[in-house]
């Protein structure tokens, strides 16, 4: 297993390189000119050139790509320029016997350190998305196993119909309607807000967005998990268990549930990285200072350092989670072997 894990870790390097190349070329060929965004209302070519120079986007692509790789290798805590120490400040500090830290990569729009942006925004995002994932999975599994149990009945059909209708409506509509009625009209939740106090946020500001995300995510999860359970229910071992006189409850909860957990786990694994970037719709509508909102603002401002860092961070999280899910298979199903 250790060899498998090490091999998978090695494989992450070319994958990450691919992600970096993709984001780099997408930004340079499709994205707007950050210098124009930053230059203000009245500007001239010389000023725009100066801004490009300041940002480093005047450099040849291969150099910019090299700087990007350097920043990724340093976790965005050190820019290439500060590392090469053009103004001798680091050398001076070292000569004085003081630590000579690199300068972290900063947002082009706000000058905030990019690692700090990621660290400070991840909390609110997880406050919303972690409960969403956990509750959605638990509710999805419970409801799906129940629906699978009554498969083919009117209840099953009605629930599936409701799920299809629910899936056909845009998330934005749910947000707008729920915010209006639950937040404003009926006053059950605050319309928007965030304090930075974890418990206050979790109990006051997070419930409505969490409820909405669960409501929207539950319908597809329920349909999917139901199909997993139905696949298992139709297998021979279930028929055999029933023939042996095993109670239906035990058949469903012990045999079917355990075997259906493998595709469910895969599905949760696919959804897991998403919780680290959050929902930009929820975050912008409910004024949650999370990562999704931050990325949206960064895209609108052509703030490439933030976009780069968020993309690389998400790619790494996705790869690590995929690896963990693969290892989890072994725990859930001892028949799984690593090759």
């Amino acid at each position: 297993m250790l060899a498998y894990v090490i091999r998978r870790l090695w494989q992450m390097i070319p994958t990450l390189a691919g992600v970096m190349l993709l984001i780099f070329f997408l930004f340079n060929w499709v994205g707007g000119d950050p210098a124009l965004v930053l230059s203000g209302k009245i500007t001239n070519k010389e000023q725009i050139e100066n801004i490009r120079k300041q940002l480093g986007v005047d450099q040849p692509y291969y150099k910019q790509l090299g700087y990007f790789a350097f920043e990724v290798a340093n976790g965005f805590t050190c820019t290439y320029r500060s590392y090469v120490d053009a103004d001798g400040a680091r050398a001076k500090l070292r000569a004085e016997g003081k630590p000579a830290p690199c300068q972290a990569v900063r947002s082009w729009a706000t000058n905030e350190e990019v690692p700090k942006i990621l660290v400070t925004r991840i909390g609110p995002t997880l406050t919303i998305m972690l409960p969403v994932l956990v509750l959605e999975t638990i509710l999805g599994v419970i409801l799906a196993i129940g629906v699978a149990y009554v498969r083919g009945t009117l209840t099953d059909r009605m629930i599936m119909m409701v799920c299809t209708v629910a899936m056909s409506i845009s998330f934005l509509v749910y947000i707008i309607v729920a915010q209006y009625y639950f937040g404003f009209k009926w006053g059950m939740f605050p319309v928007q807000g965030w304090t930075g106090n974890f418990w206050k946020d979790l109990t006051t500001y997070a419930p409505l967005p969490i409820m909405l995300a669960i409501f929207v995510g539950l319908a597809p999860a329920l349909r999917l998990y139901r199909s997993f359970f139905l696949d298992e229910i139709n297998h021979d071992y279930v028929r055999t268990a029933r023939a042996k006189g095993v109670a239906e409850k035990v058949v469903m909860l012990k045999h079917v549930l355990r075997n259906a957990m493998i595709p469910i786990l895969t599905n949760v694994g696919i959804a897991l990285p998403g919780i680290f970037v959050g929902s930009f719709l929820l975050e912008t509508f409910f004024s949650i200072p999370g990562l999704g909102r931050e990325i949206l603002v960064a895209v609108n401002r052509s703030d490439f350092p933030v976009i780069k860092a968020a993309t690389v961070y998400l790619a790494m999280i996705t790869m690590i989670i995929n690896l963990l899910v693969d290892v989890m298979y072994k725990v859930v199903d001892p028949r799984v072997t690593f090759k």
Binding site: I42, T43, N111, F285
Partner: protein
């Protein structure tokens, strides 16, 4: 006897409690909460340009001049200066005499000492606008403007480090409190620059101490200090304890204006500011911003979203649900205008030949601006007669665009027929005289309902005269880039006043500003000559005549379809006292009061 003593003791206790409660009420901190429509970027005054960040700086820093709060039309008054400088040497020299005894808010950068403001701080700030490291969006204010500054900047650029110490000929410190500025050529609008909320002195030691993140460490002489900042989520300002205080000037108040009278009643004679704490929440989405106000979470709502205007106002009056709660609506015609730019370099819509001018004028006549105002702008706009919004110096209320802009499809069709833009292949759409089909493209800002509706209106209106237009929604950064480099045919745009003079709007059509703010890429010798001449004149009938001539040239050559001047409605709860919105200054915290008891009672 015992009963009497007991009653007396109780009465004394009651009195004490009442007095204590009264004292507590008097000491109660006054807080206002509100939302911004977009996120801020930071608070280094020389590094920012978005109005939300500038709005915060307006309260932390002070500019040499400002505007009288109540005077309309706007009027310059001294803030850090002893008086408004008189233009010397025909508008080419200004002597700025700073008041003595003005101190910065306390900061560790001052090592525990009170730091007095000096003229050197302002000279330092001007240099900062030109330091390439700051990437100042307002560098243009001091570019090709002050004698010696451009040369100094070039020299610094070559040296790789900006020189903040070598004297500059046009920036002469006469003493610690006097700065003489000499301009390369006369500029009577220079005084307006001195009233911009980001043209403010800063303390060098603060900038140097927080060199890596000056955006997060604003230290000024203004009435507020930055107490808390959760970027793009929450901004908290608190009263600057060392602030000297200011008062409301009532000299230019309008006796008939209820807002002026309300402000006078609430604020006159008091030492301002009265609000202890201001909490600002950037909320980009319109629904939560609106609902947060209606829910009582915020004390006032500026720029009520257009999509909710029908729920708030009917025929200009507040709906009963709001009127019952004592909400008032302040209607503001902003100093701005919206317009659609034609790319004058484009082969189809551009050009200066009679044929091309006629084509653009036909497009303008085909566009139904009344529908734009009624449907797209929800009647919250007035048609622009020229690029100049009401209120700017040089605005002529009698100037009418009339036949140039009024919706007239029959005239549009006649013009198109006259220049030979007719349907030649029978597909129902007009073609160029050489037979090539006409397929126009309109670029607009994505994700904005107003802009999308405007694009749909173009499609509908042009179809009525037999023209096809494809609409392309573009992200902000791309839209900006396309407009600047001329990668468009027709595009939506808007301009908000930096200072209240017609020049700030008319420069949008000045030839040398192509690739900069002149998005139409309009280059007309006559217009440029008039513009250059207007720069040398003070506000006068002669300059107004030049402005009128320039407006006529814009109408006759049609490099743009003039849109509207939008009207914004600001909603205020009754416990907010003295509210009035200034057309140039962005925030009102300095001139507000709050009835805290009513505020508590009014909140859900």
């Amino acid at each position: 006897m015992a009963v009497t003593v007991f009653l007396r003791a109780m009465a004394a206790l009651l009195c004490t409690l009442l007095l204590a409660a009264q004292a507590a009420g008097a000491n109660e901190r006054k807080t206002v909460r509100l939302a911004f429509r977009a996120a801020e970027t930071g608070f280094d005054p020389q590094q920012i340009y978005d109005r939300y960040s500038v709005g915060i700086c307006e309260n932390i820093f002070e500019s040499p001049l400002t505007y009288d709060w109540l005077a309309r039309p706007v009027r310059l008054v001294p803030l850090l200066l002893e008086r408004v400088p008189e233009p010397e040497e025909g508008g080419a020299r200004y002597t700025l005499r700073f008041k003595r005894g003005i101190h910065y808010a306390d900061d560790p950068a001052f090592n525990g000492k009170r730091r007095e403001l000096t003229a050197r701080d302002f000279e330092y700030a001007i240099r900062r606008f030109r330091d390439p490291v700051n990437r100042s969006p307002y560098e243009w204010l001091f570019e090709n403007k002050i004698i010696g500054l451009d040369e100094h900047t070039d020299k610094s650029k070559k040296a790789g480090r900006f020189d903040y110490d070598t004297p500059i000929e046009g920036l002469k410190l006469l003493d610690a409190y006097t700065l003489q500025i000499r301009l390369k050529s006369p500029d009577y609008n220079f005084l307006y620059f001195l009233a911009m909320p980001n043209v403010v002195p800063v303390a060098r030691e603060v900038i140097e101490k927080y060199r890596d993140d000056t955006q997060a460490h604003p230290v000024g002489t203004g009435p507020y200090v930055l107490k808390e900042w959760v970027r793009r989520s929450k901004i908290v300002l608190e009263k600057n304890p060392g602030y000297r205080g200011h008062t409301l000037s009532t000299e230019f108040a309008d006796a008939k204006d209820p807002w002026d009278q309300g402000a006078i009643k609430a604020l006159a004679g008091k030492t301002l500011p009265l609000i202890d704490r201001v909490e600002i929440y950037p909320i980009e989405q319109e629904q939560p911003r609106y609902l947060a106000f209606v829910n009582g979470e915020h004390d006032y709502l500026e720029e009520t979203p257009f999509e909710f205007i029908d729920q708030v106002l009917q025929d200009g009056k507040l709906m009963p649900a709001f009127a019952r709660r004592g909400v008032s609506a302040f209607r503001e015609e902003q100093m701005e205008f919206t317009y659609d730019v034609f790319n004058m370099d484009d082969k189809v819509v551009g050009g200066y030949t009679p044929e091309k001018i006629a084509f653009r004028r036909a497009l303008i006549l085909a566009h139904d601006r009344a529908q734009e105002i009624d449907i797209v702008r929800k009647k919250q706009a007035i048609p622009a007669q020229s690029p100049l919004p009401p209120g700017v110096v040089g605005y002529d209320p009698n100037f009418r665009s009339g036949a140039f802009l009024d919706h007239h499809p029959a005239r549009a069709k006649a013009l198109l027929d006259m220049i030979g833009y007719i349907d030649r292949d029978g597909d129902g759409f007009r073609d160029l005289p050489d037979g090539r089909p006409i397929r126009l493209e309109y670029k607009y800002l994505a994700l904005e309902q107003e802009k999308r509706q405007q694009a749909e209106l173009w499609v509908k209106n042009l179809a009525e005269v037999g023209l096809r237009v494809d609409t392309v929604a573009v992200q902000f950064a791309d839209h900006l880039k396309d407009r600047r480099v001329g990668k468009f045919q027709i595009a939506s745009s808007a301009w908000i006043a930096d200072y209240p003079d017609a020049q700030n709007f008319l420069q949008l059509f000045y030839g040398p500003n192509t690739d900069q703010s002149n998005e139409t890429r309009f280059r007309l010798k006559d217009y440029d000559a008039l513009y250059e001449k207007s720069l040398t004149l003070p506000d006068s009938p002669e300059r107004n005549r030049l402005y009128r001539e320039m407006n006529r040239l814009i109408l006759t050559h049609a490099p743009t379809r003039l849109g509207v001047h939008r009207t914004f409605n600001h909603l205020i709860y009754p416990w907010v006292k003295g509210y009035k919105k200034h057309p140039i200054l962005f925030t009102s915290f300095k001139y507000l009061d709050v009835d805290t008891a009513a505020q508590r009672a009014g909140k859900p």
